[in-house]
Amino acid sequence: MGNLAIETDNLSRAFGQVRAVEQLNLRVPPGVVFGFLGTNGAGKTTTIRLLLGLLEPTEGSARVMGFDTRREADEIRPRTGALLEHPGIYERLSAEDNLEFYGRIWRIPAAERRTRIKELLTHLGVWERRKERAGTWSRGMKQKLAVARAILHRPPLIFLDEPTAGLDPVAAAALREDLAGLTQREGVTVFLTTHNLAEAEKLCGLVGVIRQGRLLAVGHPDELRARAGGPRAEITGRGFTPELVSVVRALPQVLAAQAQNGRLMVDLRDDVPLAPVVRAVVDAGADIEGVQRGAASLEEAFLALVEDSR
């Protein structure tokens, strides 16, 4: 068992004939941001519900912070914060009262509660609007408030289901920074689901890809990107004729090459120098404007995993 924040063994949940989560085996160490990636209906939200003890597994088991989700869910919930599928904001209450209610729930002493609420609402830039009914706020502001509620009591483990949905780019970047800070400074574990793969790439130390309830892969984003393909180069310019592409494909350093929209995409063999390839392209008559060496993005890795599983 060790000191894992989350551990699941063949965790499964079916709704009638639909197997929402199937044989899920996850190991999430403490102090990381774990990104749970998947298409709509992949089983991400069901997994969070199972981990919080809000649903019972039909098979398998899970332990969160060392507690069994089936038998000891009452020990798990006090140690976690959650932003679930919906923000869960009481729209008839003010923003301040929403946090006041959850502050009382978490038994934060009154003075500390006031200070913490002020700190969070000020940080989110909504302190001046704290007395307004939350129902009058925009979706993004409610989402911010829901995130504040999830971290209000400084839990060691936070579940965030699509936390940046509805946030503007500035607010989303700020939230990413906050979450990264929480894990680095306070050792908080964050379990988040997202469709935003660029976000996961920036933020997550570990990602898992789920499709139709099955875990397809788990690892550091770099590992998943490496699995999707080796090093590659993107050459921009003019004159990428079919003949030139054939010449490039024939080079010993090259696995594959294709030209599209003024770009020549070249898949390279591992650890080969790029200079001979560039020289060959110039010698074949192309005008080069730029060369960039890189690897597959997490999005490409994700799409490749999903495609392979079909």
Partner: protein, 244 residues
């Protein structure tokens, strides 16, 4: 304060903040008190305290007031997508269930008692000649107990119906059908039972006398309330509530 009591107070605080402290509720409460605590007693003067009206009001008002809001207790949270987050918190099942029950009951019972007390004050001020009057002890005690346990019955039945209803409308419909069924069943049973069975029961109730009758009815209502709350507590399963 014990943790359980703190959690219960927290839940009651939220329910009141979300409902009772709203302007529309405050206006309704004020109107209610003006009509039933001021206007009607003032019309009758001091005879008001000895009339049947205060007693019937105290039985009917809490039930009516509870039925107006109780369907929202769980179904409303489910409809507004706040229930799952609440269930993901560290509040115990009992704190959530009984917190909602108490908040609704105290609201309905509180207004009923306030209207009765206000009525007593108003008749004495309005009709200031002669000695001060108050409700007869039996009426006052019956009003106090029946309003509490009658309201408690409606609140327990309502919470039970609301617990697994998808929408407030569905909960309200089930509650209204349930209440109607209970009243129809009581009268149907009384109509069907032969006099040889009914008459001895009526005689025994008469033999109890007014005080004994108040105690008997109170104990029966308390037992029914306890039964309904026990069923609600047994049916409160987070793993089912999320799916509903």
């Amino acid at each position: 304060m014990s943790d359980a009591l703190h959690d219960l107070r927290t839940m009651v605080w939220k329910e009141w903040a979300e409902f009772v402290r709203q302007r529309s509720t405050i206006i309704s409460m004020a109107l209610f008190l003006v009509i039933f605590g001021v206007f009607l007693p003032a019309q009758r003067g001091k005879p008001w305290v000895d009339s049947a009206a205060p007693f019937f009001n105290s039985v009917l008002f809490p039930i009516m007031l509870v039925l107006g809001i109780v369907a929202d207790s769980f179904a409303g949270e489910r409809e507004r997508h706040t229930l799952e987050t609440l269930l993901a918190s560290r509040l115990s099942d009992r704190a959530i269930l009984f917190g909602k029950y108490i908040a609704i009951l105290v609201y309905a019972w509180g207004i009923t008692i306030a209207s009765l007390l206000l009525g007593a004050v108003v008749v004495n001020v309005w009709d200031s000649g002669g000695p001060l009057v108050f409700y007869p002890a039996r009426v006052a005690s019956a009003a106090l107990l029946f309003s509490l346990f009658g309201g408690g019955f409606a609140a327990a039945a309502g919470v039970l119906m609301s617990l697994h209803s998808s929408t407030v409308r569905q909960a309200a419909q089930m509650l209204s059908i349930g209440m109607t069924a209970i009243f129809v069943a009581v009268f149907a049973v009384l109509a069907v039972l032969p006099d040889a069975v009914v008459n001895p029961v009526i005689k025994r109730l008469r033999d109890l006398g007014p005080s004994g009758l108040i105690i008997a009815i109170t104990l029966t209502l308390a037992a029914v309330d306890a039964l309904l709350l026990t069923i609600a507590a047994l049916r409160f399963r987070r793993t089912r509530l999320v799916l509903d």
